[in-house]
Symmetry: C2
Subunit: 236 residues, 2 copies
Amino acid sequence: MTLVFHERVGHEGRRPSPFSWRIRYALAHKGLLDTPAVEVRPTRFADRPAIEALSGQRFVPVIEHAGRVVHDSWAIACHLEDAFPDRPSLFGGTVGRGLTRQLNLWCDGVLMAAVRPILVADFPAVLEPGDRAYYRSSREAMFGCTLEHYAADRPAHLARLRDVVAPLEALLAEQPWVAGAAPAYADHVVFSVFQYARLGCTAELLAPGTALAAWRARMIALHDGLGDRFPGYPTP
Amino acid sequence: MTLVFHERVGHEGRRPSPFSWRIRYALAHKGLLDTPAVEVRPTRFADRPAIEALSGQRFVPVIEHAGRVVHDSWAIACHLEDAFPDRPSLFGGTVGRGLTRQLNLWCDGVLMAAVRPILVADFPAVLEPGDRAYYRSSREAMFGCTLEHYAADRPAHLARLRDVVAPLEALLAEQPWVAGAAPAYADHVVFSVFQYARLGCTAELLAPGTALAAWRARMIALHDGLGDRFPGYPTP
């Protein structure tokens, strides 16, 4: 039975959404991506009415599988783990699942908040031209200021990010993957945030020579270079 | 063969060290604490020369087991997991071990830094009187100011802590233990920091009704109330 993966798409086929990247990597980890078992449906912000009609809410990723419609990347990852128990594990057991959830909440609450001001003013260029006005107006309403004002002091935001990722830098100086000896969904989640920035703005978040930069390169290379399959930030 | 656990001891038998609390809970989790398999040796700051002679460094916890001397709480936890593989697991597998290390580094780097200014001026009272001058002078050299100056704005430090623990609060609103369905070493590590503050100062870090406060109460109650076995902060 085909699994339908509704994934955010941007300008000229770009993939700008961290939450969709997590699920793309999770599907590859399970050996399902690029097989007839999965159909990818690229989704713009402008496709919101169809996503709402399908899932009862506006955000992607959404999957349709086994008679269910599942939204929210964490719920999708849990569904994939439980629906494909004989494929490589995303969590490595119940403790791994519990602790992956811990890291997932930290990424969404803390890491994303540190990354967002670095990229947000650059980000419209990676979206479909028709999606850009919606992105700008919705985010400016959320921030209470223009994207440019919110993003103004990039050096300070980059310095703040270095503090936030210090425990991850220490971790990856000790072990090759966030999940230990081999990559797992915890890696997908952390990577998705750096991938979001790598493809979504002109700033380099990770200094050469850091353990995080080396790990990110290993993540990009997984699954035949999955992290480089789509266009990067547009050159002027 | 007996395992010797060198554990920090404070005034009138108090247990003030978060790093020793982790190992105390890990030993209980493995079913070894309070059995003839483990001998606990309480250790004061003033016992530093003996600890240095034994382990080549000054900090406790230290264990002696199977012909080895192991220091550093993470290394000790890994030793216990590997030396007692048939006892309840501290990590729940390789992914769990990798992610527990991630949380451990975050706790030591971020959570401890948020908790330290809340308790540090109160903390000497829980130490042996003979250890207090060393504690004060070593910490004041580290902070570059008096303990009282470092700790001055407790409401601001408590507000900062609430931000830092927001992802843990969200996690424990979803699942009963940090490690998911059952407690594991990840819980021991996070708990050790709150226990350090609970026994080491007059401030209450966790508001009643929070998921973290309820989880902390469950952690205290484990292993026949292990978290309440020693005296609390001295009453004036």
